[in-house]
Each structure stands twice: as structure tokens, then as C-alpha cells.
Symmetry: D2
Subunit: 345 residues, 4 copies
């Protein structure tokens, strides 16, 4: 049994980590922290978890966490993460950080899109926690930077095309749509039910912070600089990200050939599912699971390929991917505790 802590467990990714880890056969949750709810039982804050545990939120305290846990999930906003992660590592914990603080390898890029970085020395050590691309590095890592939700959906959608040099790199356009849980659990007018329900809008056009993270992954795959247009939208659903990706093909290739290419690329991946030609994914097909579903269409009229990927933003886009990383770090079966099939309808 691995002893784990969750630091900052009062948001939506926190409650999902709790749900997954309470049912994980190889894990004991030994510490759960929340500044806001310290002293309260988690089942009072999240009645969905009533009856299966008697955990109490602790205040955030590095010594306490390190004394109780070998591995720590930090589910904090960016900036707050880099204020505590170095101490946790120093105290001997391994860390899966769900924030953006260790995802970008280049401090200057981080500072351009976020703010001054106060933990630059760890950037070269941190491993980007996308198992489908970085499995071997994750296994030995002390610090894993769990990917962003949009970047996960985009990297898995585009990796086979870029690895195989099939598309014009300057042509990449990514139109993404995310469920509202991606906006977090803090009280904001813009996240109120009546503002979101029966609505739909783009936001952060040409300025969203996941852009450099997407570009970093694609640049590594391409071996040359990649810049993309990335447009996120807010969907009136609780969960789910769908990314519609457009790329100009270097040479004509049929939908069937591309489906075959994707199937081959992901043949050994337990959590990536490729739709047959003629079928496309729906966010509902992955709800509540660690799966990424991908479908695609080659359009001879325009010479473009359109790739559509879906994930559950709270799971493959955050908490279950974090557990997948933990499994790899701890040399457990990679799928351990991640067997949930999607909940439909």
C-alpha cells in the first residue's frame, strides 16, 4: 500500500482524486488538506463521499504531509504549487503536481504567459506526465507535471500525424470546447448556472495559457518550432473536452489509412480508443473514465484532415491521469484503480 496525500483537495479535481483513490486497491489516503475546509470531514464538504471514509481536512502543512505520505498530489492553483512542491521534495516525497507550474521546460515561456517562476531549478527535473508520450521518464520521476486538460486532448489527437510527418506544421488550428468544471469550484458570476446554462462562448482567444503547453509538446514531436491557433470555448456540461483539430495534409491520404495509422500508434495504449472511419466521438462516450476517444476525417475537397478527440477533463484531463502517473511512478499496474467504464447516459 502506498501512503498518499492530496494537498488542496476541495476543488473538483480534488474530489475526483478522492473518489479514485478511495477505491484504489494499492493506496491508503493518509492526509487530505484544504485551507478553506480545515477541520471538516470530507463527507460534509462532498456528501457524494459519505459513508466510505472518515477523513478530515487538515490545514496545509508540509511537515505533516511529509510525515504521513510517500507520494503527494498537489491540486493547487499555479503559483501556490511552486510555493510548496520544492519543500515536499526536500522532505522526501514524490510529487504529482496538477498545476501548470512545472509543465513548461522553459522558464521564460512560463513567465511570458503566467508570472515570475520561483522554482526554476526543478524545471529540468520535472517530467511531463503524459504516459502515451513519456512513459519511461515518468517511471523514475520524483516530480511529475500532470498535463493540462486541453493539452492532453490535443497531444493525443495530433501526435500520430506529427510523428509521421503527415501535415503542414504551420496549418494547425485547434478549436476546443470544455465542460464547466474546468473553470473550477470558486464562486464567480461567470460560472453561475444561469450564466452558463443555455449559453456557449469562446474565451481566451489567441491568448489562453494552454497554448505554449500545446506548442511545447508538438514542437518536441516535430523536432522544429510549432505555433498553433488555439481557441477554447465553454460548454454547458459538467464534464468533457472535445478538440476539433485542423491540419493541411502534405499528401493525400484516406480516412481509412489515417484510422489505421492511429490504431497502430495506440495499439498498446490501454486508455486510447480509435473510432472506425465514419464514426466520431462524443464527450458522453468517456464521461467518468480515463479514456481518450479519437475519430478523424480526411477531406479531399480541401486537402485537410480533421481530428476530433474527447476526454473527461477532470479525469484523463486531470485526476485519473494523475493516478495513472502515480501507478507508473510506483511500479504498479498502469491501469490499477482506473477500470471505471464511462457512465452513459
Amino acid at each position: 500500500m502506498i501512503k498518499v496525500a492530496i494537498v488542496g483537495a476541495s476543488g473538483y479535481t480534488g474530489v475526483e482524486l478522492l473518489r479514485l483513490l478511495l477505491n484504489h486497491p494499492q493506496v491508503e489516503i493518509t492526509c487530505v488538506t484544504s485551507r478553506q475546509y480545515a477541520g471538516r470531514p470530507i463527507s460534509a464538504v462532498f456528501p457524494s463521499l459519505m459513508g466510505r471514509n472518515s477523513l478530515i481536512f487538515d490545514p496545509v502543512d508540509v511537515d505533516l504531509v511529509a510525515a504521513r505520505a510517500e507520494l503527494v498530489f498537489t491540486a493547487l492553483p499555479h503559483k501556490a504549487a511552486m510555493e510548496i512542491v520544492p519543500d515536499l521534495l526536500r522532505a522526501g516525497c514524490r510529487v504529482v503536481d496538477l498545476s501548470a507550474d512545472y509543465r513548461l521546460r522553459d522558464a521564460a515561456t512560463y513567465e511570458q504567459w503566467y508570472e515570475p517562476h520561483t522554482s526554476v531549478e526543478l524545471l529540468s527535473e520535472a517530467v511531463y506526465g503524459l504516459p502515451e508520450l513519456y512513459r519511461s521518464q515518468i517511471k523514475g520521476a520524483r516530480l511529475v507535471a500532470n498535463p493540462g486538460c486541453y493539452p492532453t486532448s490535443v497531444a493525443l489527437a495530433l501526435a500520430p500525424l506529427i510523428e509521421q510527418n503527415k501535415v503542414v506544421l504551420s496549418s494547425l488550428i485547434i478549436d476546443s470546447k470544455s465542460g464547466t468544471s474546468g473553470a473550477g469550484r470558486s464562486a464567480k458570476v461567470g460560472s453561475l448556472f444561469c450564466e452558463v446554462n443555455e449559453g456557449f462562448a469562446a474565451y481566451g482567444v489567441a491568448s489562453h495559457r494552454h497554448t505554449p503547453e500545446i506548442e511545447q509538446t508538438l514542437t518536441v514531436l516535430a523536432g522544429q518550432p510549432v505555433a498553433v491557433s488555439f481557441t477554447p470555448h465553454l460548454l454547458p456540461v459538467n464534464r468533457g473536452i472535445l478538440s476539433t483539430c485542423y491540419a493541411t495534409l502534405k499528401a493525400p491520404v484516406s480516412t481509412e489509412e489515417l484510422v489505421a495509422l492511429y490504431r497502430q500508434r495506440y495499439a498498446d495504449e490501454p486508455f486510447v480508443r480509435i473510432h472506425p472511419a465514419g464514426e466520431l466521438p462524443n464527450v458522453a462516450y468517456v464521461r467518468g473514465s480515463n479514456f481518450c476517444n479519437i475519430g478523424l476525417v480526411s477531406d479531399p475537397r480541401t486537402g485537410r484532415v480533421i481530428v476530433v478527440s474527447v476526454i473527461d477533463n477532470l479525469l484523463k484531463g486531470a485526476s485519473s491521469q494523475a493516478v495513472q502517473n502515480m501507478n507508473l511512478m510506483a511500479a504498479l499496474e498502469e491501469t490499477c484503480g482506473l477500470g471505471d467504464l464511462p457512465l452513459f447516459p
Copy 2:
């Protein structure tokens, strides 16, 4: 490993049975039938189940089913169920029937609310599959009539009050609200997204077929005839039933005392959770799980108690309760394969 079949697996309760049984450690699904989809892979009909199985829908054929399975879940409409269940029993299968056909002990009552009953001889044998009330009978049963969704939510909400003779039986009023999956997966204008979304309405007022099922359970508990007002409403959510139950108290009793009474009654029940005084359940607290959450308020101004219960209509109201019954029938751990915690948000 128990070999099981699902007859009529193309609806929402069918896909939930598939989801649960594919992950059940003691079950092997050996046969899945659907008139409509015979010959097609289940992952083509339900892409949420892609990749974890290679099952194909078979046509409905008693001999085939009986040859392959020890225990059969019949997830058919009423009338269709009683046309096949006798044959399945005769062929040696045990059956959990999710239809209404074997729930009412009295054929005349069935015929008054439904239609002519063609399998009357089995009514005295069939056990009403509500484990919290009929656990011991279920264990030995050959035929279990899985309860209706509304009746499950009501029986669990009112049993402690009636068992303890706390309320005036003629005063019972039940105002229930169900998610739209309760209407099934057949194509009807009234179930279209645009008809349901942003809408809310009562239906079947004073005439819903779950009324006699509710009354039968309460009558047995009370030891005398009980008639109730029961009003169902259609909620614009996928899943969940909330029943608000009103009863006049025979003598004043505080909310705290009632909470204590409920906690004692359900102390050994793994799937019933009682909220502390001052808290009330939300259908979101049980989504995707086999739990029933109950909260209540005693109102000294009017002398009434208001009990609010929630279940997931597709799970404790149908498919996971059916698995719970199977576990009991097969002498497995009652909670086996039912460990899912609710998905929130």
C-alpha cells in the same frame, strides 16, 4: 464465475447492466440479446463500452440464453417479460426481472393498472427484490422481481416511519421527480432534448402505474391497507429520482430523533446513507452509484414530517439493485461489483 445473460440490453438499464457486469469480478457475460440490434457489436451501439469487450448482440432465443447462462437479467418492457420469463425458469435459469410483471402479488391489481396477466402462477413465487426489506427471501429465490425506480425511493424513505408506527397512514403524499432516462431510449417527441430541457412538468397524476407497487410495500409494512397520493414529475437531468414524502406524525418527534431512528434502522445497510439533521440530499450525491441518501425534517408548525430520498434511477432504481439481487441469489458478497462512488460533479 457466474455465467449471466442480459435479455433486452439495448436500453438505458441494459447499458448500465453491461457496464456493471463487465467490471464485476465474479461474473462472465455469456449472452446479450436485442431484437433491434441483433448481429451488431455492443461497442457499436454503445461506444462508451468500446475496447473492453467483444460482445455481439444476439437475437432473443430462450434456448440459446439458457444454454449459455445460469442467471438471466430480463430488461424488457412489461408484457414482453412475462412472455419469456416462464420459459427461462423452465429451462433452469434463475431470473432477475427488471419489468413490472412480477412485482405485484395480486393479479387483479396488476390487471387493473396494466393489462391481462399471462403468468399468474409465478406471482406467489416471485420475490420483491428490495434487499433492505426482503434480503432473506431474495437469497433463495429463483425469480426476483426487481423493484420500480419510484417505489424503491419511496419504500426506503418511509419504511422506518411505518415500521415504527409513527405516522397517520391516510396522510401519505409522495411528490417524486425523475430524470429523463426513466422514460427509456425509445424515440418519442416528448423525450426529445428540446421538449425536456428547460422544462418541468408533472405527469400521470393520480394514475401512475407505480402507485399500486408503492401501496403494496407500505401495506405489508403497516399490516393494513395503505393508499397514497403519488405524483411523478419529469426532471431535465439524465439520472436521479428525488421523492419528497409528507406524513402527519401521530405524536411530536424532533428531527434529531427521527434521524437517529433512521440511522438505527439502516445501520447495517451498505447502500443507505442518512444525512444529519439540517442537511438534505441532492440527486447529484448518488449519481452513478447504488446508494440511497435520505434526509428529513420534522415540522412542529404543521405536525408533519417531510422525508426526502434520492437514488440514481438507473442504478439503485434498476440495474445496480438488480446486481445486488444477483449477488444475494448467488451467495456472493452483497456489495461485490457495486463499489462505485458517486460521480460528482
Copy 3:
């Protein structure tokens, strides 16, 4: 043209008043106040109103308001309303107050359910603004207390039964469900999209502040004290209230007779529509309009009548009813500016 002001126009009832009054042929909006948004154009705060006006939010200032407007809509929280209404009247304005502060005639009852009342002297003058019950008094009123949303739905549902002495007064149970706009536009975790969407719960059971308002109206109609059980629930829709009302009949009466009774009672009412026997209302049938739809069922099995009413909580439950009151106060056609038909789907 009447010159009107809206004090506290930054919430959902405020934006609805703006929408209605901008299109009202006899009204000029001369002042719109908001503490929070003072100085900003209303079209920046409410982009739905772009392009049809150039109004700017003013800070709240009685002298400014009174200098510009004859009639003032106060759309403030309770307590805030009674701090400004006396000054507005003193300055010569007529007022339609959308808060709870002047709805209860008895100060002691107000203080029991709300807080100390600082404007008791106006309680006897204020007219309860439900035109279907108090039309003649509203016409001459200086101060109209616009009814609460739930109480409007209940009063219209039950008035004919109580006026005609058809039901046992002690038997009244009201189970109401409201869209989320009823919770207002302030940022609270409980009103976030992910907390409300796919959820449903009761709240304020046996303790909601609209209870005494409902009881006051029914008591006047009955000529004797009436106490009710009132249970509100939060619906995952933007707009709409549906109240399911239960009452024991004093003598048997058929659904058809009751429908006839309701049709006669509301024959001259332009905004009340009675469904024929066998049909029931849906909140979707009144969305965006000032209508109240009512359907009912007499149940001979239990001797009860079930009455179901629906309104748009922001309109007949707040803003359009306020405009209806203004029309009466200003001797305009009662339906002026209220011709919108419901938006379906």
C-alpha cells in the same frame, strides 16, 4: 409617457425589467441604478441589451431618482428596500417594490421570519400586488408590494378552491420547484453551474420565508387562519416555477367540474390560462411571458385534488407582474407592454 427608474437593476429581475420597459410603448426609463456597476453602460453589463439604448448605471441616490422619475421599481434585497422606499415616497414617487419588505401586513410576522422592520408605518398602506386578487386596491396605490415568486404561483393555484370553500384548510401541502434564477446573480458556490446542473434538491424545508406570505394570502381568502406545508426545490433550469398543490376535498367533485370552476374564476384574467381536463402545464409553456398556466386532477381514490401551476419566476413571479402593477397604477391598459408570447422551445 411615464418616467420610470429602476433601483438595483444589476440582477436578473433588473435585467428583465429593463428588457420589458425598453419595449414598453408608454414608458421612458430615465434612471437605472447599481451600486456595483455605477458608471458602466448597461449594455456592457448585459450584452443582450446592446444597441437599443445608451443607458448608464447611476449610483443609488434618492434625490437623483426622484428628480427624474415618477414611478420607481425597487429591485433590491429585503432590508435594503425598506431603507430607501420611505424616502422615495416622501420625495413624491410611487413605488413598486420587488423585495419582501412590504408584503406581510403584520410586522411581528415579518420580524419572526426576516429581521427587525424599520418601516412599519408603511405596512398598512402597502398593497399586495397580485392583480388577480387585489386589482382595485393596486390602481390607487402609492406603494405596491410585488408578490414573491412562489406565493404568486400558489395563490393563483389555490384561490378558486378556497374562495369556493371546496377544501379542508388544514390539508394544504405545496411542493414547489423553482428555476435557478430565483437564487439571484450573486456569486455563491451553491449556484455554480456544476453544483446545479444534473442536480435536484429540496431546500428551506419547513422554514422558507415565503411560507408566511403564502399563508397570509390564503388566510385572507379563507377568512380564517391557514397554515401550510411548503417545500421549495431547486430545478436545473434558468426560469420557471411549478407548484404541485395537494388538498383534501370536502366533498367529491370531478376534474371537469373543477376545470369549469377555474375557467369561470379566471374568465376575465388576461394572464391566467386553464388547461382542459387531462392536460397539465409545463414551465416551458410560460417561459418569457407573464402567463400563469394551471391544470388540475381530482383523485377519487384519495379524496384529494392536485393543482399544478406554472409561471416564469422572473416574469409573473417578479418583473412582468411589476409592470402589470405599474400599468394598473398608471391607468394604462393592464396588458400594455406585456404581449410577449412564451418562447418555446
Copy 4:
């Protein structure tokens, strides 16, 4: 008063035409047809319209329609429209056709994307009813082809850029999202609440029939052939289309300059509203109205402009645009009967 008929009034565009025309001051509805509901009052089929009319659905009969109406709205599926429109014109009616049958000027293109065209002789006469582009031709037209919902949102979004030759024509990518009412009111499993709610998916990728309609409009504007990538998605909302349009700029131009360009282009248009730089539209800002809102961002990193437009798919995308066309054809004020402000929330 113009006497109008609505042929095929039982769908969502039909009920919206009824709602608008019942409140139109210059219109008398003299005939409403429906094959399915012939003989039934429209208020029984659409209870939202109760009480304001006594119209009865008639069977479809050209002579009857022509005897009663000067102008006819045909709200039929494609193919059904071209089977009746020639007869209506021959009988002396003017027609606004809401189907696709007369939108494409080239019969071969129609037949490539739809099916054999049986009314080719009218294609050269039919005027494409987008007032912002074809106002003068609409005024004298006998037959107006009311534009598709997606094409309306795209044409208004891109017209200024193409008219001013600002973008590389081969670079156009349009990612659109539509509310579910766009799928119509027929009973299909794919349109059920539980299939759409909490879901999101692309459909018709690289094959949607609105593609040639979009390309026809842009080709005329550009004066040379334009081919686009067009990807529609199904949104879990009742109403609203949002189109996110990507184009490579021929030369750098700032967001502010582009906003100014759009404001100038649409300065005299009563139904097009341009957001200031830094703001983007939401489908909620136009719900229930004839408005099109447009926002845009110029991205110097990629050299692209992203234009986002929103309309209510049932209104500016169908029924209210049809009324706008009728107003032009009948020499009424173009905005007559179209004054509704958007319903928010």
C-alpha cells in the same frame, strides 16, 4: 394587413413563425397547415400559444392556401418544398421558403449535395433572403429562399473581410456549434434528451449540406471560387449557433481596426451588433431575438483573424429572418414585429 399562411407549421420553426406573426401588427394569419395535426387547434399542439388565438391546423391544400393568403411561408423539409412552391406561385402567392430547395443557384450543385431538383426553372428567379447582402433584390421578389442557419451565421461573420479582400481565401475554416432545435422536432434516438444532454459531438464533418450554400455566398462576395472547411457540432442547448471562423490575413491588421471595419460595414443594419475589442459574443446574448452578434480577434502570433458570430438558429437562422424578408417584400418597416430583445438569462 397582409394575409399570410404557414405551410408546415408543426415544427420548431413553425411554432416560432406563429409566435412572431401572432404579434405582428401588420399581419393576419389566415391559414396554418400540418399534415400530422390537421383538425387540431394549434394551442393543443403548442400550449405555449394557448389563449391568444383560435387557429386550427388545416391539411395541406394549395387551393385553400392560395384562396386565403397573399404571402406564404413554407416551413417544410427540402424536397417537400419544391413539390408545392411552384403551385403556390402559379396561384398568385408570394413565397418565403424556409427549406434548402431554392438556396443554391446551380441545380447541379444542389443535386450533388441533395437529390434531383424538380423545380429548376425557379432557381434563377429565387432571391437568397439574407437582407444584409441582398436587400434590394428581396424587395421585389416573388420567391425568397430563406438562408440556412449555419450559412447565415457564417456569411455575416465573414462578409466584411472578403468584401475588403483582407484574407487568404484558401485559408477559411469554420467551426460551428448549433443548439439542438436545429435537428427539428421529429422523434429520433439521436435527439433524445439523454443522448444530447451532457454530450457534445461533431457531425457531418466535411460533408454537411450547408457547405455549398456557404461557399456560394462567399464565392459571390469574393468574385472567385471559395472552398471552406466547415465542421458543425451539436450543442446541448435549445437554441443558438456560434460559428468560430479562422482566416489568414493578407497583411497585419489590429483587432481594433477590424472592429472598426465591421462597425462601418454594418452601421445601418438594425440586427447586427459588433462587440468592442476584448469582448466576444455568447449565444445567450441573442436568444429569442433576430440579432446577430459578432466579435473578433486578430492574432499576430499566427497571422490569423478569428471571427466569432452568434445567432438564434430558430430566429435570425430561420423564422425571424423569414419575417424580415416578408417585411421587405411587403414594403413594411423592415423591423416591424421584430422588436423582441433577447431573453437573458
